[in-house]
Amino acid sequence: MNTAIVGVGEPTPSWRDDRPTLALVVEAVRLALDDAGIDASEVDGFTSEAQTMLGRARPDEIAKAIGAPNRRFSAHTSIAGAGVIDAIQQATLALDAGLADVVVSYYGLSLSRSTPYSIHAEDPAKASFEMPFGYFGQPVYFALLADRYRHEYGLSETELAGVPIAARAWARRTDGALVQDPLDLDGYLASRMVADPLRKADCCLINDAAAAVVLTRADRARDTRQTPIVVAGSGFGTKPVTEADYFTQNPDFLEMASATSGPRAFEAAGIGPGDVDVAEIYDCFTMSVILQLEDLGLAPRGGGAAMVASGATAPGGSLPVNTHGGLLSHSYSVGAGHVVEAVRQLRHERGAGQVDGAEVAVVTGLGAMDHGTLVLTVDR
């Protein structure tokens, strides 16, 4: 073990939290430090996603709020879920290089006071070449991915339904998950169509949430309150397109940058997809889960939809996925909650949602053309 996650913090998500995003993040950081049994004065590094966190929750503000006067490392990277995962890679690099001893990696958002769509409306290329033709909003982007997948491989409503039905089953085993009503195929088919073939049930939640993790090196990790969870490998990948044109010009339309970040993370960890016990996959939409499972080698190319339809990713299945309910049923934390959940699974503290004997977890984060994959293991 070189570096490990020794503390996780995730305030209970809510549909609306009137506090500033910074306050949500600070609560998450305090929870994570308390979980680790590490005093805030020991924290000397901060990492986060770059696109939004430098505006909403800066490290200087967090350091002041928690009482961490010795901040000597900051790194802010990439976009959305890719940034959440890559921020953890940055933390491990800083720890390995001796640039910091205790690093907090964090994310938070308050979508009750904004919309997920507005950031795209500010892009002049989207305003010129997409919006005049009705192509706008992330559900529309992922609907076209689903439609193309249907054209190339076939995709039925029943297959798409496999993802949200599994997510809901996991959410019902998780305290704090925002949506816990039962969901079966009939319920899925009754869900309102948003952009063919995607229904409301295929789209992530819109809420307020934050999460943080604490990382340190092996020597310090073994002297903390919790069982350390090892960052065995991490990988970052990109596509040869910009954020503006990613969703329309991606040359391999049905392949995300997980096709490169995944193998990089597995290689760094010295394991393969077949070793994974639990997978926390960035599920902004059902379609993104299917594509990433294929990119990571967890499902055959063109076989991801059939795999989720088989129940393999649901409780009791051969590859449990998004075991807290994910972005679809737990909360939209842009993947920060996925990291927390993976750690809790490997600590074997998930109660009704525990995957028996889980020792290896993979966590992914997507942000347009960027992608991050993390492999976490128990200390072995």
């Binding site: 002049p124 305003a127 010129s128 997409e130 192509y135 439609d147 193309r148 952009a195 063919d196 010009q249």
Partner: protein
Amino acid sequence: MQPIAEFAPFHDGIASGELRLPRCAGCGRFSWYPLPGLLHDCGGTIGWTAVRPLGTVYASTTVRRPFLPGATRDDRPLATGLVELDDAPGIRIVVRFVDDLAAQAGTRVVGCFADVGDHPELRFEPDAAAAGGGTSSRDSS
């Protein structure tokens, strides 16, 4: 947000009844989307050229819950998609379909310019001239 000046040739083309796209004078490849202030990746200069609005649907959807700024939940569904143009290999353009009837992936389509309100807009529909020209359906699922 208003379109920026570097993208004006695209909109001017539609206003004139032409589909104009940016093409590299050096290597001949299309450069889509054109980033302001940059040369093509081969180092060549970008110019704008008219192409036939003729191609094949790559993917399409009918949007039933509107997301566009100013849209309301009472708006009728709209149909949008991606088309690969015969004259512009290597890129895909975003299109809206005539009467908001989405043409399925693989369908041969043709664009037409029609006045919507006080200005011309480009819409695509199945190409009647294409043999076995595919299908058009509001309920493509």
